[in-house]
């Protein structure tokens, strides 16, 4: 049953990618059907789990032994527990919705069948990632989603920028993948296994240094996949991919794989406080980094991407808090999956109606033309800034509380950062909202100025709006549903463990502070973009703005330190290769060739010399045999 979950989209990918043009007409229906089938199977399994006692909600399905060697067991086995079940529902649910949305969004693309094939491939790999019962199989899924992400970012490969972005995402992810593979090797060295059960249960008998090393390597992996500082630079460029891809892979699911990895490996981090601290630091830094970058972006998708980075920063921060935060990290992950996917689909709908224009300075006043998009996007907006009662409010508030509850100076710093982040989030999301849906209709002037026909904004078809509506419903009620009666906490606690935190100030005070920060953020944004007209060309801006537009110099940093440095390293390695390695290799080859030429001359064609060689050989053989006896 668990295997079927993965098999359905995998079958879809195989059929769509192998089937060829014959399936062009029905390809998107096949893809959507199989994704939904997976979702239905997920629901059945969920119902089954709910029917059991909380302690018995872990199902392990052993499929087959892949490489059974003594001392090295690589099994294909799946583990379905509350944590993976949560992910399965998120992945297949949001995935199915986005499949439906893509039917409309990709309607005019002649490679639509291939697109759905890749999407199904992604679903299969992502499900494998979260269902794997050992780190090796997880790695397989990890690489699989990386591949799918690469293929989908570069889907419009005729655009050089898309091809470059795909390559960049792939390369940056390789760095993280190295971390994961090293972590798995270390695990095998330390525990003699890489299945979850033996690894996580033996943590107590292991030295802290080794655990810290494993933890840091896992963190590196998580940074790569989840676009956390310092491996964050690929996510913004990844927006070159079609918008449904951005919604599914680069907002709702794949980029949260890092959080999953950390939470799944919680036992390791709990026993390695240094690694755990590193996780919180990465989370806190990324949280602010993403938020600051998001304030300066004029490209609607890049603004949302920066916001994704920042929100995942929240999740990382929570995951770094240990048992205090695991549950809330996952809860925020799920609610974020709803509202961020909804926001991206809304952005896609706007672009769909605006001839693929992404510059928000060329939008404005769209609420009258796209009412459904406006409402669903608006609800997503309220959810992400944490408007009281909506889902983002519940999940983010819990994280901020947990950060304060960490205690000591650390707690104050982390809590402060989280609060500041909430304010900045409110600012940049309000900015996006105002620039897109309110204010003057700047797209008219732009079109006149450039002499082009004015875009005619229009609402998207039902096949696109229905998924947006469903996601908006999730964004509104998800948080409340999870939080009332601590439903989510009780569900997940058996897997991740939970310890109640004690914030230095009352919980209500934290909530109040969060709401105040939120209001300040909204007010500032309104003052800047709501009251005054938005200039059609971006003003020069302050130093910070300019830096944020350049993604806080992330690419410049990478270029100077890594690319230049890499080039120097390559050059010196090439030099060594040419002189030393090639010298040895060519020398060996030349000497073997020379030897060959000389030995060939022995073969002179005369039977008499052949006979002599045989005679000599026989004499040697006899002599050597006698000698062996003598020795």
């Amino acid at each position: 049953m668990i295997a079927l979950l993965i098999a359905a989209p995998l079958l879809g990918a195989a059929v769509l990618l192998v089937g060829g043009r014959r399936l062009d007409a029905v390809g998107h229906w096949i893809g959507t059907l199989l994704a939904s089938a997976s979702f239905v199977i997920g629901l059945v399994l969920f119902a089954d789990l709910l029917g059991r006692e909380a302690e018995q909600r872990t199902v392990v399905q052993h499929l087959f032994s892949w490489i059974p060697v003594a001392g090295f067991q690589a099994d294909v086995a799946f583990r379905l527990d509350q944590l993976s079940m949560t992910f399965v529902l998120l992945i297949t649910g949001v995935g199915s919705l986005i499949h439906v949305y893509s039917i409309g969004y990709m309607e005019h693309d002649e490679r639509r069948r291939r697109f759905f094939g890749y999407l199904n491939l992604f679903l299969a790999a992502m499900l494998l990632l979260v269902l794997a019962d050992n780190y090796l199989l997880l790695y397989f899924g990890w690489e699989g989603v990386g591949l799918a992400s690469y293929l989908l970012i570069g889907f419009w490969q005729h655009k050089p920028s898309a091809a470059t972005a795909a390559k960049k995402a792939f390369l940056v992810n390789r760095v993280g993948d190295m971390g994961l593979s090293i972590a798995i090797m270390l695990m095998f060295l330390t525990f003699g296994s890489f299945a979850f059960e033996p690894v996580l249960s033996q943590v107590g008998d292991t030295s802290e240094g080794r655990l810290t090393a494993i933890g840091l390597m896992l963190l590196l992996a998580a940074c790569g996949k989840s676009a956390q500082v310092p491996l964050q630079s690929w996510l913004g460029d990844a927006m070159e991919g079609p918008t449904p891809v951005s919604a599914l892979i680069h907002a709702a699911t794949m980029v949260t794989a890092g959080v999953y990895l950390i939470v799944r490996s919680g036992a390791i981090f709990n026993a390695a406080p240094d690694a755990q601290l590193a996780v919180t630091v990465v989370g806190a830094v990324t949280l602010l980094f993403g938020a600051v970058v998001g304030c300066a972006k004029d490209d609607i998708k890049k603004a949302l991407a920066a916001s994704t980075m920042s929100q995942i920063g929240y999740m990382m921060l929570a995951a770094g808090l240990g048992p205090l935060g695991y549950v809330f990290a996952i809860m925020h992950l799920v609610t974020h999956g709803f509202f961020k996917a909804g926001l991206f689909l809304g952005a896609g709908s706007v672009m769909h109606g605006m001839n693929d224009e992404v510059d928000m300075r060329k939008y404005g006043g769209l609420r009258r033309y796209m009412p459904v998009t406006f409402v669903t996007f608006g609800l997503g907006y309220l959810a992400i800034i944490g408007f009281p009662g909506l889902s983002g409010f519940f999940s983010k508030d819990k994280i901020i509380e947990a950060a304060f509850a960490k205690g000591g100076t650390e707690g104050w710093i982390l809590g402060g950062v989280a609060l500041l982040g909430a304010a900045v989030t409110a600012f940049y999301m309000t900015r996006v909202m105002l620039m897109t849906f309110f204010g003057e209709e700047r797209w008219r002037d732009r079109a006149e100025a450039s002499g082009q026909a004015a875009a005619t904004p229009h609402e998207s078809p039902g096949v696109m709006t229905i998924p947006m509506i469903v996601l908006a419903v999730g964004s509104v009620f998800g948080g409340a549903f999870f939080s009332i009666g601590d439903r989510f906490l009780h569900w997940l606690e058996p897997v991740t463990g939970h310890s109640e935190g004690h914030p230095p100030v009352g919980a209500w005070a934290v909530t109040a502070a969060t709401v105040v920060c939120l209001l300040i953020g909204v007010a500032v944004a309104w003052a800047q973009y709501g009251r005054r007209p938005v200039p059609a060309v971006a003003p020069r801006g302050s130093l910070l703005t300019r830096a944020a537009r350049r993604d806080l110099f992330q690419d410049d940093f990478n270029h100077v330190v890594l690319v230049r440095g890499g080039e120097h390293l390559t050059r010196s390695l090439v030099y060594v290769d040419h002189t030393l390695v090639d010298g040895v290799v060519n020398g060996a080859a030349a000497s073997v060739g020379g030897l060959s030429g000389r030995m060939r001359r022995l073969q002179n064609g005369f039977a008499r010399s052949y006979a002599v060689s045989m005679f000599g050989g026989a004499a040697l053989l006899v002599a050597a045999t006698l000698l062996m006896r003598a020795v």
Binding site: R600, Y610, L621, V622, L626, M628
Partner: protein, 549 residues
Amino acid sequence: MSTAAVHSLWTIAADPIPRIDAPKIEYGQLSPVLIVVGAAIVGMLIEAFVPRRARYYAQVFVSVVALCASFAAVVALAAQGYGTTKAHIAAMGAVAVDGPALFLQGTILLAALVGLFTFAERRLDPAAHGNRVDSFAAQASSVPGSDSEKAAVKAGLTTTEVFPLLLFAVAGLLVFPAANDLLALFVALEVLSLPLYLLCALARRRRLMSQEAAVKYFLLGAFASAFTLFGIALLYGYAGSVSYAAIAQVVDGNVPHITPALANTMGNDALLLIGAAMVVMGLLFKVGAVPFHMWTPDVYQGAPTPVTGFMAAATKVAAFGALLRLLYVVLPGMRWDWRPVMWAVAIVTMLVGAIVAITQTDIKRLLAYSSIAHAGFILAGVIATSRDGVSSVLFYLAAYSFVTIGAFAVVTLVRDAGGEATHLSGWAGLGRRSPLVAAVFAVFLLAFAGIPLTSGFTGKFAVFRAAAEGGAVPLVVIGVIASAVAAFFYIRVIVLMFFSEPRPEGPTVAVPSPLTMAAIAVGVVATVVLGVAPQYFLDLANQAGVFVR
């Protein structure tokens, strides 16, 4: 002379002459050999009595039927358990019927059948005066370039005697790995060698070169046979018997009745060591191990290509079978003496074969050196002296023989005005003009190189593993190095075929009859199946890995 000895002479002479019992022959168990010999004799009668026009068809028919029937007999014997539980020494101790013998006989028969297809190919050479001709001389007795040769060609003569000759050689090859006494071994050696000498001389094109190759092969083969025979004499002198079992008993020192004559010689290890070394040398000559390999390139190049393919495959199978039986049945008691020597031979063979092949410019000579290198790899398995060693060698031989026949069959297809274009420069760009043929040849080359998913990899892996488990790790290391060197020249041919510009007036690829196609197809299928799903055949070889004693 002591009085006791004189007395014993008198008493022996005084006894009534003992009755000689008629030897007991298990015809059923020897049927694979008997069928082939019978068919060979029928083939001679066909030459004598069937009209010239019909001979070719009659010969091909008889040969195919005989080889298939013989193979069926082998399978039937194996199915009755002669390969495992009922293993048995037949014909008064002369011929063993056991796992290795049946496995190798089956391999030889299949190789012979595939080889026969290439012998019977008549579409490649352009028809001479309206007559379809094969790879063999019109009339073997006519002097090359003479008027009688021209007349023979004009008359459309063909040498259909090749088919009975092939069958005689097969008969010898079948007995060779099964021979369980030294005389049977020697007789088998001669029965297989003499027809092969003749076959080598029968090329239709480049007849002088072919005859030269045959003469060299004959002279050197006779030389090696002389060593073998002398070695047999010494071993007989040592043990007082030519039977493997009896010699083994003497070597191990557990003889039930020590006669006075035996008591005098059995302590004389020099006889044993020199004799064993000389017999082994004769076998090493046949497998083409260094330093007894010098005939290989010249003969492989000169012989008609179908003969080369058959010879390279089947002779190697039979000779390694005989070598295994000799070392495992007769001489296990002195393995501490022969193992270091065989180590040295294996190492030198692998290295010389691989290194000299690098500078070859003729595809047939290249394959000859490749076969020398492979002989070295197989020797590594022989040295393991374990059941795994035996079964890995059996598997390797089966795998190697199909690759070899297939590869030489491809060589017959690439032709220019002078016949086969064996110079490598002609093969440049073959992949552009005939992608299928080049791809098939590339498969064979990859198998030779031991690339995974081909039979060559499975075989090499099995052999090296057996050798390493037998403690011969340095040998395995050198073997892997030699494989790397060898991979160079195999891959170079692939590069030449696919990545070089074709020459404007280079050779063309002839379209063969279904016979050669079948030979090549069998080769490809065997190569891929034994590479991708080898388990069944490895099990088979493993079951067959025990010699009867």
